[in-house]
């Protein structure tokens, strides 16, 4: 029971408490760049989540074999291997998505979300806990990107996943698709999440 509890909290913290995008604010570059459409946000999130999970497993297994002095280059080589696999897979099976994501797929290699989790978690914890951590962080990252992308796609194009969702005399807010729109959306969502978080905490304290 104790062990399941630990695994569960390792997993769940990535979704809210330590959500990589909205709470830790790491991996911002792809977050801002690819979230103009939900489809791209989802693909980027899944690609990152897969890389994170795969490298966490490998690094956790070999954590006692990799010498401390060369751990960063070792992690980077392992991460780069998985990213290249993802990149080739996308090119072969989803050429459209691969084209839309452009250079941001290879840039997953230096996404500090992945390297950060290896350094902070996978290199110090057993495999099961690292898997739970990677899954939580990966899913948290994917969901965050999709939330951001939904706001931007709906307001910027009037569509969601390519389907028209706003009808009538609606003029798309083009700015939402451009970089400033990404910053605006992120800022407003961060504010919103802080408000929710404060409200939840205040309520908890009242109960106690």
């Amino acid at each position: 029971m104790q062990r399941t509890n630990i695994l569960f909290s390792d997993f769940i913290k990535g979704l809210w408490q330590q959500n990589p995008t909205f709470r830790l604010l790491i991996g911002m570059c792809p977050t801002l760049a690819v979230t103009s459409q939900v489809q791209n946000g989802l693909a980027m999130g899944l690609a990152t989540a897969f890389t994170l999970l795969a490298s966490s497993i490998i690094i956790s297994i070999f954590r006692n074999f990799i010498p401390k002095e060369v751990r960063i280059p070792s992690y980077i080589v392992i991460i780069a291997t998985f990213v290249t696999i993802v990149s080739l897979f996308l090119k072969a099976n989803f050429p459209e998505v691969s084209k839309a994501l452009g250079p941001y797929v290879p840039l997953i290699i230096v996404n500090c979300l992945i390297l950060g989790r290896q350094e902070a978690f996978a290199s110090k914890n057993p495999v099961q806990r690292s898997i739970a951590d990677a899954l939580g962080m990966g899913i948290g990252f994917t969901l965050s990107l999709m939330v951001l992308a939904s706001v931007r796609e709906v307001l910027g194009m009037g569509t969601l996943l390519g389907h028209q969702v706003i009808f009538g005399n609606f003029r798309p807010w083009v700015i939402m698709l451009t970089p400033p729109g990404a910053f605006l959306t992120l800022g407003l969502l961060l504010g919103l999440i802080n408000i929710i978080d404060k409200a939840v905490k205040a309520r908890r304290e009242k109960k106690q």
Partner: protein
């Protein structure tokens, strides 16, 4: 000594294993990637030379020229890729021209990263269709009102630079290929 040997050994081992895995994945995915690229080019060729059912590749300088043939195996047009700098990044356009190089049959913008909602409207049929049957006797020019001559293109409102870029890219390529005809 022992410590540094261990460092070198483990890093080399990781690199070698990675290289082997990547080589294998590359070998598996390569045929599909090449097929995808070829399909994308083919689709664009058949779109800009609509009567074509087959094509042959030839070269003029650095440029690949696709000679198109219709169902009776008759030479029916040429297609080639023109590329150049747009407002933000590279724009690639597939251009179809008549056999005598006198008019444009159609164009298709195959790659661009222009501003969403403004510049990237160069991919809309409204803009691309303006190039259909455009005369190549004179250079193509961009105007801001409805075109009055058969070598004029109306710019997209709010995206004059992107519109001009597409026209320049096509003009330059045609100039370059003049000797070919």
């Amino acid at each position: 000594m022992k410590q540094s040997f261990k460092m070198i050994f483990s890093l080399c081992l990781i690199a070698v294993i990675s290289a082997v895995i990547l080589a294998k994945v590359y070998m598996i995915t390569q045929p599909a990637i090449i097929a995808n690229e070829k399909r994308a080019t083919e689709n664009a060729i058949y779109k800009v030379v609509s009567t074509a059912t087959s094509y042959k590749e030839s070269k003029s300088g650095q440029t690949d020229i696709f000679k198109c043939y219709d169902e009776n195996n008759k030479f029916c047009g040429l297609a080639f890729v023109a590329e150049g700098v747009g407002y933000q990044d590279l724009i690639k356009v597939m251009v179809g021209v008549s056999t005598d190089f006198n008019k444009i049959l159609a164009i298709e913008v195959i790659e661009n990263s222009e501003t969403p909602g403004l510049g990237n409207r160069i991919v809309t049929p409204w803009f691309e269709n303006q190039f259909q049957n455009l005369s190549l006797q004179n250079k193509i020019t961009v105007v801001k009102v409805a075109p009055s001559k058969d070598s004029e293109i109306q710019a997209i409102t709010g995206a004059t630079i992107s519109s001009q870029a597409v026209v320049d890219i096509i003009n330059n390529k045609i100039e370059e290929l003049k000797e070919y005809k």
